[in-house]
């Protein structure tokens, strides 16, 4: 996997413009008559098809598991609702920079889903209002369908609908930001959501919630992916800031989580369009490491929420 990441990075950094323009030209050719032969110039400019390459809209594709899924795990583990762990929705008006707004857009969405899952509709609605205002400030809201916004506001007390709609909200916002090459903002929203959901998981883990402990350890891959994403940010102020350093420290701490993996052949049922992935992964994390990760996450969360 590391090799493929390096390949993508290399292509993105050195050849992306050439590849992009040549690829566009190839696309145009394909739209025309197939019988038209490529000119020698185009052939020279075309990419080496023997290599696995990627030309994408957003620079590099990456994926961070949904913070809503983590909120669901906490709820399903029978842990109690802990409003004192959550961010203060009233703070939204005090965030001035786009960096603050983007990160807290991620935080508030996570807290909205978490509160709704615990049937605290009033609190979920407060987070929705904060989220809606931050989305407006960042110029994202206009890209979200009005019907979706309306349904979100109306379903604050209906957890089933709200978690689905929240996922759609972030997906539409993410697509809009990447289409408009606002990758930094898209990444910061994801960062805020990941830190908040991991912080909630860590707090629950510290209280002895075994499922939360396991989930916290399973975020190892995400922590390193996030750092790679943040490395690409063009926001030099952010990169010089303490939060950036803390995120790096989190990934370093996660490197000590021991993982053992054993492959098992998957089982596929074509009639159900379903594959059961049967491989097994075991994560080992000591109590002291868990406490270190939890402390770092608390620090990251505090920095994100700073006014």
């Amino acid at each position: 996997m590391e090799d493929s990441s390096k390949t993508i990075e290399m292509i993105n950094s050195r050849f992306s413009l050439v590849v992009f323009f040549s690829a566009i030209l190839l696309f145009l050719l394909s739209c025309g008559e197939k019988s038209i032969e490529k000119s020698k110039e185009l052939e020279a400019a075309s990419i080496d098809s023997s290599k696995s390459t990627i030309v994408d809209v957003s620079g590099e594709l990456f994926s961070i598991p949904s913070p809503i899924q983590t909120a669901l795990l906490i709820k399903n583990s029978k842990a109690e609702y802990r409003p004192e762990w959550l961010a203060d929705a009233d703070n939204y008006s005090e965030y001035e920079t786009n960096t603050q707004k983007a990160m807290n857009l991620g935080v508030f969405g996570t807290d909205m889903a978490y509160s709704s899952l615990y049937e605290n509709g009033q609190r979920a609605l407060a987070y929705f209002k904060a989220l809606d205002n931050l989305a407006k400030d960042l110029g994202v809201r206009s890209a979200i369908s009005p019907e979706l916004i309306e349904r979100l506001g109306a379903n604050a007390e209906n957890a089933d609908s709200l978690v689905y709609l929240t996922g759609r909200f972030y997906e539409e916002g993410d697509a809009y930001l990447k289409k408009n090459e606002r990758y930094d903002i898209a990444s910061l929203i994801i960062l805020g959501g990941w830190v908040e959901s991991s912080h909630l998981t860590a707090q629950s883990a510290l209280e002895g919630n075994q499922e939360a402990q396991n989930r916290l350890a399973q975020q190892k891959k995400s922590s390193s992916t996030l750092v790679k994403v943040l490395e690409k940010t063009t926001d030099s102020k952010f990169k010089k800031g303490e939060l950036y350093q803390v995120m790096d420290s989190i990934a370093v701490a996660y490197a000590s989580v021991q993982v053992s993996y054993s492959f098992e052949k998957p089982e596929t049922d074509p009639s159900k369009k379903l594959t059961v992935l049967k491989s097994q992964t075991d994560y080992q994390v000591s109590d002291s490491l868990l406490q270190s990760i939890a402390a770092l996450l608390a620090s990251a969360r505090a920095k994100i929420s700073e006014k």
Partner: protein, 137 residues
Amino acid sequence: MKNLLLVLSFVIAASSQLLAQCDSTASYAQEFMDDNFIPDGQSYRALIFDDQLAEFETTFFGKSKYRIAAYTGMEEEQLIFSLYDEENNLLYSNEKHQNSPYWDFEVESTLNVRLEARLDKTKQSSGCAVILIGFEK
């Protein structure tokens, strides 16, 4: 110089068209992500050509069910997507299932996966690939 400007104008117009195509493709892909699956909140879109791969890594959590919808262009079954584990074992490919535009995955134990998507060259030589991931509540 004149020719260069002409080509650049052409390229700019074409890239706008491609980006617009991404939105249409995304709405087709969305049709396969029914309400039982909560979107993961991210947009995975890539312009791919010929043999190129769009790929990314993610974590699938244990005791969860995921749906992956993958689409390119305006018609079904033009995009091949495959899932690999960290040891590069092939876990699934829709190529063996008529390039099915979606597939569900039940995950017994958390695992890191790599998702690769490429065009079915017999049907398409370029396009915007859209991948959606949802998880069941």
